[in-house]
């Protein structure tokens, strides 16, 4: 665990600033079959915030400032990926909080993205990869929208490399929905160089209209510490998700 919060814009790196950062609580929800909750909590900690464990059967969100829905295979991907998790007691609280005036920031990664589409917080759906195989690789993404709660620390058009690992990763929606997503700047990430799953228009991640809810298939939480992330680039190019939301939380609460 790092001593220094890896964040700059919203607060200075003095003791008071670090305390404010650590005061930001980011919930990480665990369903039966979730795999990446520990890594997501670790990414939150490395960014300087305090991770809060949330359990799917909880009936309150507590006082968290943002929520990460991590990857894995909730309920074994039975029925459809994310379909059963969507009806977990805590999900209805998250849906309400995301749609409320407070616009709780919510990030869905991989299976979390699938849960967000099943929850109708994000449009479209995921089906099996077009090549039918599970795929794990370091993936280059282009940040198409750096104004969301989870991408504001990136430059517009910046290319980042984070791991990708999934079987049901092919993003689909009807043409009208895809056109609307493009027109409203809600395509947040696109695959660069190689489309690993047949996703429409190379879409890797999208947001809701307000930009507080973001979902993507690749895994930024696995690229937060040098030596443990992708070998392409710095290996820490996923950390910006977590510093982004932290900057937003601390900035909003100033």
């Amino acid at each position: 665990m790092t001593e220094l919060p890896l964040i700059g814009e919203a607060v200075t790196a003095d003791a008071a600033g670090a305390r404010r950062l650590a005061g930001a609580k980011i919930g990480v929800i665990t369903f039966p079959g979730t795999l990446d909750d520990r890594d997501a909590a670790r990414a939150v900690r490395l960014a300087g915030a305090t991770p809060v464990e949330l359990w799917h059967a909880d009936t309150t969100l507590g006082d968290v400032d943002a929520v990460v829905i991590p990857g894995g295979f909730s309920y074994g991907d039975y029925l459809r990926a994310g379909a059963i998790a969507r009806f977990a007691p805590l999900m209805s609280k998250i849906i309400d909080a995301a749609n409320s005036d407070a616009r709780l920031p919510v990030l869905g990664i991989c299976n979390g993205f699938q849960i967000l589409t099943e929850s109708h917080l994000l449009p479209g759906s995921m089906i099996k990869n077009d090549h039918l195989k599970f795929m794990c690789r370091d993936q280059i993404l282009r940040v198409e929208n750096n104004t969301t709660a989870w991408t504001r620390d990136y430059a517009g058009g910046q290319e980042i490399t984070v791991p990708l690992k999934n079987q049901d990763g092919q993003y689909i929606a009807d043409e009208k929905t895809l056109d609307a997503l493009e027109a409203e700047g809600r395509v947040v990430f696109r695959y660069v160089g190689f489309n690993p799953n047949g996703s429409r228009r190379d879409i890797a991640g999208i947001s809701n209209p307000a930009g507080n809810v973001v979902g993507l298939m690749p895994h930024p939480e696995h690229a937060v510490e040098a030596g443990f992330g992708p070998e392409i680039g710095s290996g820490t190019e996923g950390l910006g998700f977590f510093t982004s939301v932290l900057n937003k939380i601390v900035g909003d609460n100033k």
């Binding site: 459809r80 379909a83 009806f87 759906s125 089906i127 099996k128 929606a173």
Partner: protein, 83 residues
């Protein structure tokens, strides 16, 4: 015990990767008559007692909300069997 059968299919405009894999495997076994396969799901909901209109309506509702995802799938059949 009566059961309500719910059949769900991928929407026609959506490429069904699983069906595509199956249609590729069929000729390898000598089944050469089939030009396309689409794979769907069948659910059997068991009811203790009589299937009333209200219960059937519940099944239709469950089919639309949980058993299928309207973005990618259609509920193509809801029927009572073994009454």
């Amino acid at each position: 015990m009566p059961r309500i059968v719910v059949d769900v299919m991928p929407k026609p405009e959506i490429l069904d990767p699983q069906g595509k894999a199956i249609v590729g495997a069929l000729p390898r076994l000598g089944f050469t008559a089939f030009s396309a396969v689409r794979q769907g799901k069948r659910f059997e909901l068991t009811v203790d007692g009589e299937v009333t209109e209200e219960i059937l309506a519940q099944a239709r509702n469950a089919a639309e909300t949980l058993l299928s995802n309207p973005v990618i799938e259609d509920v193509v059949n809801v029927e009572v069997v073994g009454a």
